[in-house]
Symmetry: C2
Subunit: 375 residues, 2 copies
């Protein structure tokens, strides 16, 4: 087949980068299939599969004969990236050698033994099966970014390295917690809920990759298909499939305090800046927060080096003054994942987690951050 270097490089890069970033096994072979109307590029590791599709009708591709091959991914990626701009000819011969011809450059790459039964885009993937929902690509990316930072990085409880995705008729919720200090939750309404409920746990590391893979296009939609052993994200020109984490996700309903002693509203950007500053001298990442009257004071110190004090005006406050010591690293990463301007923080006592919710009455996200007990 003939196609442009740019399209070829873009397609291969899309698949290659997703799978070579991922620590869960190495991508060795990249599968290329030239059909009647499309070229499909596909790669997978033990945990994630990415299939990218270039349509003959959308692009300058000429396919002379149907065919497929699996090539050494890293070499293919490197060589395509370095070709001059212009047209590229790909040919597979009977000895399973891929020839790449572009200008004066002639490359031969040996094919690998074929991947077993690769999935190819076929019309039924786009049909609405019972266990599927449609969400906008941007909402999905925003949800993932908000919760994924709260997953556990320890393999001690594998289930907590995943994000719980819950569909309840028209409500889609994602929850992540490290089981000790942090919990993050975000919900959105699905417009075309198909009346099914279900939940799965997806490896956090795969969701981070999916954020990178999905388009930024405002209009783009993604179909999420839940199956027993995997989840599929089907977009305009790609299908991403992730394994699931087996097991029962712990209930998080009782973690959220039902009452509070005090409540403050803050500008997120200013709050982030002062935390960033006091964090520099925060031994063990500990930052102490004092709320009094209309201001919030932060303190940190490092033994034998020094200390920092900073303060911030509150946008609003209801309830008593309070002091609490928290892990500044987790607070910073939580604040970085919030897209709003302001935040509402509820204090429910020395041993209760801080509750971080939107400043406006709009209960779509919620973070819990447990205090650190000192002494």
């Amino acid at each position: 087949m003939h196609l442009s270097r740019d399209l070829l490089a873009k397609s291969i890069q899309h698949v290659f980068k997703a799978l070579s970033n991922n620590s869960q096994g190495i991508l060795s072979g990249l599968y290329i299939y030239a059909g009647n109307e499309e070229v499909v590029f596909r790669g997978s590791n033990a945990s994630l599969t990415v299939q990218y599709r270039a349509c003959v009708t959308d692009s300058m591709i000429h396919i002379f004969r149907e065919g497929s091959i699996v090539c050494p991914a890293k070499y293919l990626y490197e060589i395509i990236r370095k070709l001059n701009d212009g047209n590229v000819v790909l040919e597979v011969n009977e000895q399973l050698i891929l020839s790449i011809i572009s200008g004066n450059t002639r490359v031969s790459l040996s094919g690998l033994s074929s991947i077993d039964s690769p999935f190819i885009t076929t019309p039924q993937y786009h049909q609405h099966s019972g266990n599927s929902i449609d969400v906008s690509s941007n909402s999905l990316k925003s949800m993932i970014k908000q919760v994924v930072g709260a997953v556990s990085t320890s393999e001690a409880k594998p289930i907590l390295t995943g994000v719980l995705l819950e569909v309840q008729e028209s409500l889609l919720t994602m929850i992540a917690t490290d089981g000790v200090i942090r919990m993050a939750k975000r919900s959105i309404w699905i417009e075309n809920g198909r009346g099914f409920s279900g939940n799965v746990v997806i490896p956090g590391i795969n969701l981070m990759e999916i954020v990178r893979l999905l388009d930024d296009d405002e209009q783009a939609m993604v179909t999420i298909q839940l199956n027993h052993h995997e989840i599929r994200f089907i977009a305009q020109n790609q299908i991403i499939e992730s394994v699931l984490i087996e097991g029962v996700y712990p209930s998080t309903r009782n973690l959220v305090p039902t009452t509070h002693v005090s409540e403050i509203i803050l500008n997120i950007k200013s709050f982030r800046q002062v935390i960033d500053r006091v964090f520099v001298l925060a031994d063990y990442h500990l930052i102490t927060i004092h709320v009094s009257e209309k201001k919030l004071e932060l303190r940190s110190s490092t033994a034998e080096i020094g200390d920092v004090r900073d303060e911030l005006l509150l946008e609003d406050k209801n309830g008593a003054n309070f002091s609490i010591t928290i892990n500044g690293k987790y607070l910073l990463s939580t604040l970085r994942s919030i897209e709003s301007d302001s935040i509402r923080i509820r204090y429910a006592g020395k041993k209760s987690p801080l509750v971080l919710i939107p400043a406006l009455e709009d209960n779509t996200w919620l973070f819990l951050l447990n205090p650190v007990m000192r002494g």
Copy 2:
């Protein structure tokens, strides 16, 4: 003293980055001196010292009292970087605590025990002593970039990890070689030669840092002072001092072949692109070059994976056709360090190094690249 956060951050970053990049020991303390007319920032590791100066007359600095302190460099750097824009007040008290005050932010940093006799900019450094030369900052940076890639990375012969800097009246020359495969040489004429000759060997790793530290300003000049145990680069607002490598640098005069069998002229950019491409499949970095008639063909292969062939038109050729196998990695790094458009390559036989010189008659730089013997 009072000064702007930007100036403070810039000064501290300048000193901090130079010394924390460098693998030769860690920068622990950063020295700050506030004099009558200047603030001096200084840091050093075992091998390199950087002193940066901010003048009271050039900037908005108010010094209330002369004083100095040595602070934990990393913490100082991090905290200053994160302050809000605006004015910063620095104060040292009798307990050797540095207070940093900026808006609502108050930082205390403990001073370290003082560095022994730090050097401060004093007028005599700018006087012309016998063993000094003046060169433009840009020429110096260009020279260093061309030769420094050829130094040895092995500590087996420490002298070869350095660059030979040779002053012969009005000619300044730098030479580097790994003693096996590569040699690089660059000369420039010094306008104000002061009639002295001398040579020193400077650690390559320090020269790489000096390239980053020196201004890009077209007009900027640098005074190079040679002493017995160190070399100093004195610029407008900084002094950089490097240790020297002891020992006798091996003679490189007999390495350059005096005759040649064939000579070709090539466009450097196109040559680099084809090498970049064939390099992807070059086992052990080996690339074979065939020169025939008016073209140059390149080949590489990786066992069991595949091979690449590419070709390039020559701009000119005199002499016989030839074939040679070279290390593509070294050829690429050599070509990347050359600023010209074209290059002249001389072939003097299967066992002689390739000679790379300017295409135009202008003998200011020269590279040698030994062929790789196969079989």
